[in-house]
């Protein structure tokens, strides 16, 4: 009987371990505020545990947000100018932070385009220097991050980021 129990326990543990690996993720519920960040787009206001699997197949992002004719999200716009730049920064916050620390990368190139800056290499160097000013602490909101990035780009006239107004 003991042997059997051990065997069953092993199987049960193997089963639950694989279930835990198997695509289940938990939303922290900390994305309740509106925004275009990945977490808020994926989990919205849902609290507690949800599963990607249950959210949608082959995409974290639901149809309510990005419906073609009915979309309610302004995060679908990635157009040149101030609002497009804001959206982009918020949605790509983590990737942009990494590229900023490195002073180069795809998100910096895209950001330079949206903001109408002359030279993305110069933008990369500037943002790398300004990393602490843009991200003074981790808990800073997405909106504050985008405001900091935009003011950094606007303040340095040599970057001539013309689309920021």
């Amino acid at each position: 009987m003991r042997k059997m129990m051990v065997a069953l326990a092993v199987l049960a543990m193997a089963g639950s371990a694989s279930a835990a690996d198997g695509g289940g993720i938990k939303g922290s519920g900390s994305y309740g505020t509106a925004g275009c960040g990945l977490g808020s787009m994926a989990f919205g206001n849902q609290k507690g545990a949800i599963q990607i699997l249950a959210a949608t197949t082959n995409g974290l992002f639901g149809t309510q947000t990005f419906g073609i004719t009915s979309g309610t999200s302004n995060c679908g716009e990635s157009v040149v100018g101030l609002s497009g730049t804001k959206t982009f920064i918020e949605a790509n916050r983590d990737a942009l932070a990494k590229d900023m620390s490195r002073g180069s990368g795809e998100t910096i190139a895209a950001l330079s385009h949206l903001a109408g800056c002359a030279d993305s290499k110069a933008v990369g160097a500037k943002l790398q220097q300004s990393f602490q000013a843009v991200f003074p602490e981790q808990s800073i909101s997405d909106e504050a991050v985008s405001a900091n990035v935009i003011s950094t780009l606007k303040t340095d006239k040599s970057l001539s980021c013309g689309a920021l107004g």
């Binding site: 092993v10 193997a14 694989s18 990945l38 249950a54 990005f66 995060c75 157009v79 949605a91 002359a118």
Partner: protein, 637 residues
Amino acid sequence: MRRLLLPLLAALALPTGARAAGLDYAEELVSAARTSGLARDRQWLRLGHWRPRAVGGYESEADGPAFFLSPRGKTDPEAELVATLRGFFAPEPKDPARQHPQCQFPARLAFLARRLGIDPSRLPARRCEKLERFWARTQARGVTLVFSSYFLDNPASAFGHTFLRLDKGEEGGGGERAELLDQGVNYAATTDGGNAILYAVKGLTGLYKGEFTALPYFYKVREYADYESRDIWEYDLALEPDEVAMLVAHVWELGSTWFDYYYLSENCSYHVLGALEAASPRLDLLSRLGPVVLPAATVQALYQNPGLVKRVRFRPSVRAQFARRAAALDPAALDAVEAVAADPAAPLPEGLSPERRAAVLDAALDLFDVRHARALVEGKDGVGELRQRLLARRSAVPVQSAPLTVPPPPQGGPERGHGAARLGVGAGESSQDGSYVALSYRAALHDLLDPPAGFSPGSQLEFLVTDLRWETEHRRLRLEDFSLVDVVSTNPLDRFDRRVSWHMRAGASTVRDGGCRECLAGRFDLGGGPALVGAGGAVTAQLAADSELAAAPSLQGAFGSGVRLGVGPTATLRLLGGERLATQASAGLRFLPFARPDTIWELAAETRLHLGPASIALAWRKTPLDVEGQLSVLFFR
């Protein structure tokens, strides 16, 4: 009252005479369309997603009623064409949530205008503000089909996924295309948060709605390449400017409907090709697909239209980016990467140049993101702070990293993959049953000994595998083995990647030990353990702690029941000789508590020689009561 007023005002905007003349013109166009049989035109049928029915006639795959202006539209392409033509001349709809037909169906309008020579000045002018906004947002100049690679950790993505990208053709600051800003067009099921079994049943039987959505490409890159660490393949299509415009217009039309979602057939990949075909009547895509549609097969369908794919790009996952960065570092630097990824304040080796310090920190950043991707998106406590400190440390090194170029993996993209279905014919000899003829069929997709081109190394995913034997001496047909699903995920263990490899199988096997007299037992197998991969992927050695649950009425299971549980180790060695040769040998031992016999074992070896469309397989297996050998030919389709 207001409701009545609006359409009235709209109608009054046209003088009565002009309106009557418009209606005459509409009828003129209707009769011209009828005479020329335009409703049977290939592109019209594609725009409405009508397919011939087995019983005759047509039926549209679109299931949202708003997609049809005629009540008979779903099954009658001509009625819908007539209703569409008349709709273009109709007053503004009463319901403000509905669009005017000119605005709702821009691709139909373009098609009919071209084919019937509609004079635009004789159409009542309508403002389509929402459509214009969508048009401005996409600014499409080109189209790319995007394939995100197999992801075994999520059943919904195990076969990969495809979607479209509408390319703006704009340049980023550095001269590179700013692809992140392009618009992605995704088709996916809208699921409702049920449990996994319900999900599977609904997914297979069309109970979920599938809908098209449009979202910036960067969301997809963040989701797939960063969050799920899946490599992405991008196929730029050689479409004419009018075909690109037609596609955008048709995607808009699809936005107002849904399709019943079938996981195996009418899935994401199917409807993406359907949209492409509707925009470009010269293409033949859906006809290249089998009854089960896999994303990789839709990529291959592109290639069957010569010249359609004009460029392929590989977009590495964060895991692949890390591997590339790590490959450029010496052992001492790799130690530092490990240390810094665990503790952002860990010291770096003395005397490193700023460039080397930047390289170590760049690799550590990617490693951190690989390890904590989920925790970061979920906002788990502490993880973001650690990352912040690591980023701050990197930013303090005044070196701008050079762009990282990651070459595509040697096995290539999904276009190089073998067909998912596999038919095997062979002959064998069993010590228990004598000689036999073997016949096997697999619905999908790939096992570890199949031709490796185009598939992720070490990943196996098989669906509906049946092995039949005709025993020539006993003149008896036997179901030797059946797998509903069989998954193997091999994660090579190295200093940075400590994920265990695992496998899972559900199916049935013939019992070849003393447990019963060659009965067929239902089986569930689950196990895992470390795997080592060497010699550039040519050698894989794996040790696993395995469990198997077997049940059959005649099985001498635990406590006299028909169910037994086996636990024990399996050792596996796999050798690959380029893309031509694959060999695997394994030895497994299982303890069966309270069952008879109480111990079983199995030794097995198989080698396959790949000769293009077919492979030759030689297999040998020894079990407590049986030794057998088999030679067969495998065909992929």
